[in-house]
């Protein structure tokens, strides 16, 4: 199984440990993981702002980098949602379609493709609030959203509960958006920050020591909010927890 | 071109692509148990209304006190003689001083605790809103299981006016604080009285 690792631009620049943890974690399962060296971004910043024409060249580069892999795996539900649902600024050749279909977010790759049963090397004896990125939750179906009348399931919680010692706390508003929203966070900063403050306050009240998410973008925003409010919450990507980060 | 023709022409020109057939709506299993009277009563209570069981021989026993305290009672039912004759009301506004109105429901709905009236039961439609309190006679045999069953009844297509009441007039437009008697009746009491 040949796996192409996509490390989103903000992970590359701000959270390299998340990329490293993802790579190491995938390698623990004996996979042949490649990191195409010319990769940059999935195009989401442009398409989410409506600027599809401006995203076309970036999307073409993404496809060029990731053609030929059995799976493309990224530690971001948001970027994977972009690739699957919105990478449409370029002609939809069979090559483009194949890349879009084979792109998986890390949690669903572990849960649905590898069907991982255990992470024996991992232990995380902490109280954890799980943060569901909205694109991961409602866009690519990580879990049943609270609005929907269906039996509950959650792939990230299934996976996290296999980690020794972890304790998941319940939030008052479990899948309320944290307010990052990509460019929303800078074009509508007051509402974005208030949503973030409310989110970290909820996590804090629930008694969490750590916030774990499958998306670094939300975590970066929440961390900035928690620090501004002087809350002692710590933020860590699920890839790091699963790879055995000691915290 | 008239507005009518212009609107219809634009709608025809802009008809969405694709087939959009009317779906078959299944008859859903009612969410209420077999005791429709009890289910109706429980739901009506949660909507702010009351069901009063007629104790003994006097069907109006539970509201006797209210009726005795009322100056003006407008009755649209043969079981109780009020002191305001609805049939001779000239203007609906003349009913502004009614303290209690008594009407019979066509049927009740267990799923919601609703009762249906049409202009035939109300005589003057406005009485059900201008009165301070509403007393409703409902035959326990006239309770339907759910809203879906109600909308298969003919009254909606035959009456000039048909209305489902579920509890009294209510609002919570200020800070979510629930108030009964926002514009209409302040209370709604259902008496389970079989049809004569």
């Amino acid at each position: 199984m040949r796996v192409g690792l996509f490390v989103p631009c903000y992970v590359d620049a701000f959270e390299p440990e998340v990329g490293i943890a993802t790579l190491e974690l995938l390698e623990r399962f004996g996979l042949d993981v490649s990191y195409p060296f010319d990769q940059t971004c999935c195009g989401q910043p442009m398409t989410n702002t409506g600027c599809h024409a401006e995203a076309a060249a970036t999307e073409a580069l993404f496809v060029k980098n990731f053609t030929g892999f059995d799976y493309v795996v990224a530690p971001s539900g948001s970027c994977v949602h972009q690739v699957r649902e919105h990478l449409t600024a370029i002609p939809q050749t069979p090559e483009v379609k194949a890349v879009r279909e084979r792109t998986f977010e890390l949690v669903e790759f572990l849960h649905d493709v590898l069907k991982v049963e255990a992470f024996p090397w991992a232990s995380f004896p902490h109280r954890v609030a799980y943060h569901a990125n909205c694109n991961a939750l409602r866009g690519i179906g990580h879990a049943r959203p609270s609005e929907i009348q269906k039996p509950f399931f959650s792939k990230p919680l299934d996976i996290l509960r296999k980690v020794e010692g972890i304790e998941i706390v319940d939030l008052a508003r479990p899948d309320e958006c944290c307010g990052f929203g990509g460019t929303f966070s800078v074009f509508e900063p007051a509402v974005s920050a208030k949503m973030g403050y409310d989110k970290v306050a909820d996590q804090s009240r629930a008694g969490a020591a750590y916030v774990v998410s499958a998306d670094s973008s939300c975590l970066m925003h929440q961390k900035g909010c928690a620090e501004r409010l002087g809350m002692p919450l710590k933020f860590i990507h699920i890839a790091q927890v699963l790879n055995g980060a000691a915290a | 071109m008239s507005a009518r023709e212009a609107i219809l022409a634009t709608l025809r020109a802009n008809r969405p692509a694709g087939a959009h057939p009317l779906p078959e709506v299944p008859l859903f299993t009612p969410l209420v148990g077999p005791d429709l009277v009890a289910e109706f009563g429980e739901r009506l209570k949660r909507m702010g209304g009351r069901v009063a069981d007629a104790d003994g021989g006097d069907p109006f026993g539970p509201v006797r006190e209210r009726l005795q305290g009322a100056r003006v009672v407008a009755s649209a039912v043969p079981e109780y003689a009020g002191n305001r004759d609805l049939a001779s009301v000239m203007q609906p506004g003349d009913l502004a001083d009614v303290d209690v109105a008594i009407v019979r429901a066509v049927f009740g709905i267990a799923e919601t605790g609703s009762v249906l009236f049409t202009e035939r039961q109300l005589v003057v439609n406005a009485v059900a809103y201008l009165a301070q309190h509403l007393v409703v006679l409902l035959d326990p045999a006239d309770i339907l299981p759910n809203v879906q069953a109600a909308y298969l009844r003919p009254e909606f297509g035959q009456s000039a006016y048909a209305v489902l009441h579920t509890g009294p007039s209510a609002t919570a437009d200020i800070e979510g604080v629930l108030i009964h008697g926002a514009q209409g009746v302040r209370s709604l009491t259902v008496l389970l009285v079989p049809r004569p």
Partner: protein
């Protein structure tokens, strides 16, 4: 006991009645006969954090977006002012979140909920794609029922038609129930200009009318006001005691002062929740009974109907009525569900079918399904942005998620900014009882607006620059290659903004020692001999 009873059971351990600040001894409306807290109609399921009356200075109510002709609405600016009034913002957020939770409880109590949504969506799609024939059927049925039917191409024509009907009857006063359509038409303003007195009879709408403000929410129009704001408005306009902010006192004062208008009005008007083609009926859903007063007291009765309100047959109300109030307020049905089909003896009934952009919207491939909307406001209640900005920040008749996708159809320039007032989190789509893909339409609107250059040149320029860098690995690496320059490029791909709006309210992320790319090159490539 069946599962449906869960939606009716009092929720939460908190069994206090209203907030102690506004509690009234012996009040029956909040507590049922079994002692459980009642939360039907719009009632909150628990006491909310009201503004304490004891505060030395009242927090002034934040006002809405500044309207400057056709210039794009600055929703972010208005939202920031709303957030600067923390007592208002908190009460607003908690109140609407409570409605969302009540909606969840109601929906989760019905096994067939998702099937009902799908059925409602399909019935609406069918009706809209055959709207011409259903309107003709409706018109024929209404005429056969003795109703006068009128057609209005736009809001101005609607207002002229109603004015003409009033003039023909020598009518000078009109009582009405809540109608978003008449808000669209600017009906009150028009009628004020021609000397006709309009009295809103929905409590929330009346508050907004007296305060000369638009409704901020389509179901609870004054939800952005605290009871202290209402006490101030009523003292100023109705002559109530300015120091009495008891909610019961305020509501009762409104009832007592409105009742004479209801009794003396020359005409009554309602909006329309559903119009049934088969029978020519107009269906309204209210909790106050005010639509029934408007329709049953005056001699002249007018119903304003948006043409998208049609449904083919009465039996489908068995789907829509089950969805509407549960989605809106979490109650199984509104207190009143009223079906107006023909005039009372000796009175006249008029129905005005209004287009006002709807037929044109039907032709918009990506946006026509927004016409399915039944105006329940579930999307507003769940929207995290709406709850923190207030409905008036959108500067449009329709606020919140549904507003973002229909407002630009009225005025593309003025409302060009609104589709960006969203995180596209998708919760709105999931609560929508007719399954409108709201967040996907927000995404689609952004594309339309960018392509037609309705977004600011600065924003589009930044995206062009970002796209150019991100498409060229060398340029991208040059931009973020050196560890210490990561912060400098934050504006380029995380912030896109020379003003650093990120850092004003949040701490900046720390720049790591090296990028993943650099780590990989150092740790992995040297081992394999692969070269960059």
């Amino acid at each position: 006991m069946s599962s449906a009873s869960d939606e009716l059971r009092p929720r939460g351990a908190e069994e206090r009645l209203v907030n102690p600040e506004v509690a009234k001894a012996g009040d029956e409306s909040e507590r049922g006969q079994d002692g459980g807290r009642l939360a039907h109609a719009e009632g909150a399921s628990r006491p909310l954090s009201a503004e304490p009356a004891a505060r030395r200075e009242r927090e002034p109510q934040p006002r809405g977006a500044k309207i400057r002709g056709d210039r794009p609405i600055d929703q972010a600016e208005a939202a920031e002012r709303f957030l600067a009034a923390p007592l208002h913002q908190k009460a607003h957020d908690e109140r609407l979140w409570d409605l969302r939770k009540k909606r969840d409880a109601a929906a989760h109590g019905i096994p067939e909920w998702e099937e009902l949504r799908e059925l409602a969506s399909q019935i609406k799609a069918h009706t809209l794609s055959n709207l011409d024939t259903y309107l003709e059927q409706f018109e024929a049925a209404a005429k056969a029922n003795g109703v006068h039917v009128h057609w209005a191409a736009d809001g101005a024509e609607h207002n002229r038609i109603v004015h003409a009907i009033m003039r023909d009857h020598g009518a000078r006063t009109l009582i009405k129930s809540k109608s978003m359509l008449t808000e669209e038409c600017g009906f009150r303003h028009y009628m004020a200009g021609v000397g006709i007195e309009i009295i809103e009879t929905d409590l929330g709408e009346r508050i907004q009318q007296l305060d000369a403000e638009e409704p901020s929410h389509i179901v609870v129009p004054a939800v952005h006001k605290t009871r202290l704001d209402v006490a101030e408005v009523f003292a100023r306009t109705l002559g109530t005691d300015p120091d009495n902010d008891d909610v019961h006192y305020l509501a009762e004062s409104q009832r007592e002062t409105t009742r004479p208008h209801i009794l003396s009005a020359d005409a009554g008007m309602t909006g329309c929740n559903f119009a049934v083609a088969e029978t020519g009926s107009v269906v309204t859903c209210t909790n106050e009974g005010n639509a029934d007063l408007s329709g049953n007291v005056p001699k002249l009765q007018i119903h304003s109907i948006g043409i998208e309100k049609l449904i083919p047959r009465i039996e489908y109300l068995g789907v829509f009525i089950r969805l509407l109030s549960r989605s809106a307020l979490g109650s199984p049905i509104t207190q009143y569900t009223s079906h107006f089909r023909g005039p009372r003896a000796g009175t006249e009934m008029h129905m005005v079918l209004v287009d006002n952009g709807r037929s044109a919207r039907l032709g918009m491939e990506e946006f026509w399904t927004s016409l399915k909307c039944i105006r329940c406001a579930a999307c507003m209640n769940t929207c995290p942005v709406y709850r923190r900005s207030g409905g008036l920040s959108y500067g449009a008749t329709y606020a919140g998620p549904i507003g973002l996708i229909i407002d630009p159809t009225y005025n593309k320039r003025k409302y060009s900014t609104l589709p960006f007032s969203s995180t596209m989190n998708g919760s709105c789509t999931n609560v929508c009882p007719v399954k409108i893909n709201i967040h996907e339409q927000i995404f689609a609107w952004r594309k339309v607006l960018a392509e037609e250059h309705y977004i600011p040149a600065l924003k589009q320029g930044m995206m062009k620059a970002a796209g150019a860098v991100l498409a060229r690995p060398a340029a991208y690496r040059a931009a973020i290659g050196a560890a210490d320059s990561a912060l400098k490029v934050l504006p380029r791909f995380a912030v896109y903004n020379p003003l650093n709006t990120w850092g004003k309210k949040r701490e900046m992320p720390e720049a790591p020692r090296e990028t993943f790319h650099a780590w990989y090159k150092r740790e992995r490539l040297k081992k394999t001999g692969q070269d960059a």
